[in-house]
Every structure is written in structure tokens, then in C-alpha cells.
Amino acid sequence: MAMVTVTLEYTLKFRSITGKDLEKVTLEDKTTIGGILELLKLKYGDIFEKEFANPSGDKIAGAPLLLLNGRALKLPEGLNTYINDGDIITFTYAIAGG
């Protein structure tokens, strides 16, 4: 089975939870963004699922932001997006203020 390697980028709360800024993971081809959230749930707990798959609370004041190669994914539809080799997936929050 073909494999793809992607970079996961963590900021703010996600860095605190994972203890790292970046990690590279190698996954089966045909993995979706939602599938990655499942893996992260197993590894780090349900924060990723809570923020992106089943978001609750304020969507605007510092809304969770999931970027695929710098472009925001529309949630939840974007969770069905397939990853490609070399993709960068960023877990962050929309800016507030400024």
C-alpha cells in the first residue's frame, strides 16, 4: 500500500498538549484529515476532536483553525479531504484582535 508523509504543525494550546511544534507522520494513502484527527485523539486525547470535529462554544472569538498548506478548511466538510505526500497541516486558532 502506498504511503504518504505529512507534516503536522502545532501552535498555542496544541503545542502545549503535544509538547512539540512539528511532527512528521507517515500514513496510508487515502487517509483523510478526519482520519488524522482520529489518530491524534488516540495519541494526545480528545482536544483535536473537540476543537475541529465536534466544535462547541465560541466559533469566532479565537475560532479553531485547521489549515491545509496554508488554506483554511471548511469544517466539518473539510475533514473528508484526502492528504497528499508533503502536505502541511496546521492546527491553530483564528486571530483575534489586531
Binding site: 498555542l12 465560541d58 472569538a61 479565537g62 496554508g70 483554511a72 491553530t92 486558532y93 483564528a94 483575534a96
Partner: protein
Amino acid sequence: MFGYAGQILKVDLETGKVVKEPLKDELVKGYIGGLGASAKILFESLPPMTEPYSPENVVIFATGPAQGTLIPGSGRGLFVSKSPLTNRIFNSNVGGYIAAELKFAGYDLLAITGRSSKPAYIAIDGDNVEIKPATSMWGKTTYETQAMIKEELGDKSFQVACIGPAGENLVKYSAIIHNLHAAGRGGIASILGWKRLKAIAVRGDKSIEVPDKDALIAFYKEIREKCSKHPTLPGYGTTVALGTINKLGCLGTRNWQTEVFEKAANIDGYTTIPKYKRLDIACTGCPMGCGKVQEVAEGKYAGALAKGPEYETLYALGSLVGVGDFDALVSAARLCDEYGLDTISTGVVIAWAMECYEKGILTKDETDGLELNFGNGDAVNEVIKRIAYKNGYLGNLLARGVKEASEIVGCGSQYFAMHFKGLELAGHSPRGVKGWTLGYSVGWRGGSHHDGRVHDIEYPKTFEERALKYEDKPEIVYKTVHRVMIEESLITCRFFGGYYGPLEPNENHLRILKLTTGFDMTLEELWRTARRIRTLIRCIEVRDGFGRKGDVNAPPLRVLNEPIPEGPSKGAHAKPSEFKVMINRLYDLMGWDRETGKPKSEVLKELGLSDVTI
């Protein structure tokens, strides 16, 4: 009168006359306070086409019903006047403590007219108001001035807002500094400089009555709880916006030649806060506490300390001038605060000069010997000093603002003079965030990121929705503009937009109005009030000679003609054909004539402005 101090204080610097007038019921019922009340006063008191630097021009320091109460995000006030950069009515918002203090002293608004024959400052100690000499302070920096006034008045609890050398020297984008906060935009500090007014000092001990203290306390606790869970502002302030906006490919870099900055990580709060943060600060009663004071501990900029620097400063004195050296950036921000300069305009003007230099339009002779290349942090620090004191050709040229400077230099440099309506462009991309092309263009201030305020809701969207789709932007801008009208009249901090906004006038604003004033307004009436305020401001613009032409010609040519060249938002730009459709649609929503840009007579009538002639 709940929520208000009940008086307007008028000071004429020409005659020395001080007048206290009761705050009229019709003013607060029709315009709430803050920007709304100021617009009404300026409409009635400013002759058409008033010159910014003239005795007739009025500078208002305004509060709204939220100031001096427990409403979270109420630690702000507004300076309102005609801007020397735009020649339009302008409101510049400042945080800190002085707005609440003015109300504690017994006044909702302070209106300053005339011109003093000698440097002066206004000392307001409750009922006692004096115009005092400021000759000894003239030429001093903003921090020196604040300390000198507190020393002279013998009480550190006086809250002081003052100008620095830049304001005295009539630099067109000089800033009023209060504590570590700035009323930065629009150059109102230079109006004070022209009036020879160095500062305002305020102390008061009155309280603001509200109709139901328990309900207000419950509201405060509700919002405080939400603030405690906010993912970015309490811990990082606005400093981490830079990294996120860069990841989206929307960060103005090297004078907007691109929108991806390769050194963003060096200056993003995510990197710097753990190393540089010395202090957390908050405005009056604020449970968010977004102020982060960062200090350079070592190296040639050791000792440089600044609040933030906030996102807008990181953009303007960082990516926009290509500076990835955080130490140099903090020092530049500190210099702007000390001399009293708007960091946004300062950065935009310097970035334009750097592009001119790299393209050979400005030579080393014209930069007075400076190597003005992008990324040269030392040069940025040096240029700031020259601007504040108008030293040399370069200092004199850049002190005029980017619009005027580019008109003087010519050689095609107007193409990349990044301003809307004369106001240097803030750090939210009009190419990457399409709603901003419209928001800046139809904003009464131009390049301010608080007029259209679309990015709160646009950044979380997909690239296609944010940067390519244009059909929905007029409706969004229509709503956000009117939200800003209400929030600038109640005066609540935009950083609470996630809780009070984010899109349009709503039940949260009604709740704040009720909690502070006791007014029972319907949502329909709130909307009508917002429209009345915006329409009256538009009437002032029209009376001063600005209409559709000013809006249509507002975007910098680079924004209309040059797509973002690289990165995640590559290809995005505001196509002229789309821009025209957006403007026409927004005019229809506003009730403005498509040909002239004037509010239609039936709209004026509907909003109770029938007596307004333009």
C-alpha cells in the same frame, strides 16, 4: 442620567474660556455617545471644508456609556477630529485608563477649540479645570511629559494623554500617547501640536450610576468566564496574529510586494513572548488583559521596551519593512511611542521609501546617506528619529505621509504608495481578504482596520470564500460597519468582538446599552441608530467634498492590478470589475446615490436627518 457623567466640557485655547454644558438627552438618545455623539457635535460645529490645522477644527476626547462602568472592554476612549492625512472626520481609539477617569471627573466629552499662544496643557481635577503652561515640557518625549505632569500636579493618579516631538513638529501621522497606549491613527496629535496643546491630565472621584448593579456584575462575570478560556488574547495578546496571518499568505511584506514573510517566526509572539515578556497589563477593569509588555534584555537595543508590540506594529515595523530582527523592531516601536508616532503609518511610509530606494527612485543623496534597504532594522530606527524631528530631506519628506510623499517624488511611486484615502494601510490584506478592499474604500477613515472590520469573520473561511468570492462582501461590510458604529458609540473594545459582535448590531449591544443607561431600545431602533451615525458621518464627508469618486479611487493601484505573487493566497487581488459591483451594491444597501455617493433624501428622512443639508 444612568451611564453618563452628564456634562460636556468645552475648552477654548484661544480665549482660555472653560464651559461646562449639560449632556442633552436628544444627543444620547439619538447617538448614544462616543463616535455618534462626536459626529453630531462636529457636524454642527465644523464649517464645511474646515482645514485640519485651523482654530475652527475641534478635537474631541469622547467617552460612551460603557466607560467608568464594569462593562468588559470599556477601558477605551476616542479622539475625534478632522485628520490632516485624510481631510476627513477621524476617530482614533485609545486604551488605558483616561477615558474612565474623564467620566469620574464628571464629563462625558471634552471638546477643544482654538489655538493657544504658548504651549499649554489642560488639567482637569474634577470640577476644577485649568489651562496650564507647558513650555518646560515642549520638546520632551511622551514618557518624560507624562512623568513631568504627574510630578507638577503632585499626584501620580492623574491620567495623562500627551503628544511628543512628532506632534509638536506637525508630523501628519503623529500619535497621542497615554501611559503605554496610543491613539495612533490619523494624526490627531499633530492637530494638538498645532493648537500648542501638549497634554490633557485628568483626575476624578465621582462614580457612574447604573440602573441595576447586580445585573451588571453578573454580566461582567459571564464575560470574564469566557475571557478566561480565550485561546490567544490573555496569553499572547495580538502578537500571535502575525504568524497565523503569515500562514494564510496575507501578511504585508516588503511594502506589499508579497504577502509571505520568511522571517515571520522571528517576530511572532509565539516565539518572542516566552523570551521577552516582562509584564501583563490591562485597561480599566478589563478581564481579558491582552497587553503584553516585551523588553530587549541584551545587545545594542538592550532596554528597549514596548507594549506588545501589537500585531499592527509587528506588521508595519517588521514584515512590511522586511525586518526580522525582533530587537530592532521593539526599539523602533519604543521610539515611535516616545516621539509620538503612529507605528502603522510610520512603517508604511518607510516601506514605501525602501521600495523607492531599491528601485533607484530615491538615491543615497535623498536618503541623506542611509542605506535604505528592506530588512535594515538600524535604518528603520534612524529614519524614525528623522521623521519625528523632520530632519533632512528624508525626514521632511516622510513626515508628510505616504500619499503626499509619493506625489512629490512621483516617478511611478504612487503605484506602490499603500494608503486608502491618505491613511496608510493597516495590516489586513485587501487582496487576500476581499471584503477589505471594499471596507477600506468605503470607510470614512480609509486605511483603518476598524471601519469595515471584516477580518474577524473572514479569516476562518476557506481561500475561495475569503479571497475569491466577492458577491457576499457588500452585505458583510454593511453589517460590520454598523457594528462598529455601535461599538464606537458605546465604546467597547473590538477585541471583545467575539462576544459582543462579531458581525452586526445585535442583542449583546442592546444588553450593554440597557445595563449602562437603562435605555429600552429595540433591535430595529439600534440598527436605525447605527445607520443614523454612519449616515451623518457620510454627510460630513460629502459636505467636505468627498463622495463616490473618493471611494472608487481609494485602493492603491498595486491592490487592484497586482495579484499576490506567491504563497497560500497566491493569485488573489481585487479586480476592478468586481470592485465596481461591490461598491454599487454597498451603496444600495446604505441608501447612497450610485452616481454621487450622497445619502438619498428618503434615507435622511427615515433616519431623522431631514434637516441635514449637503
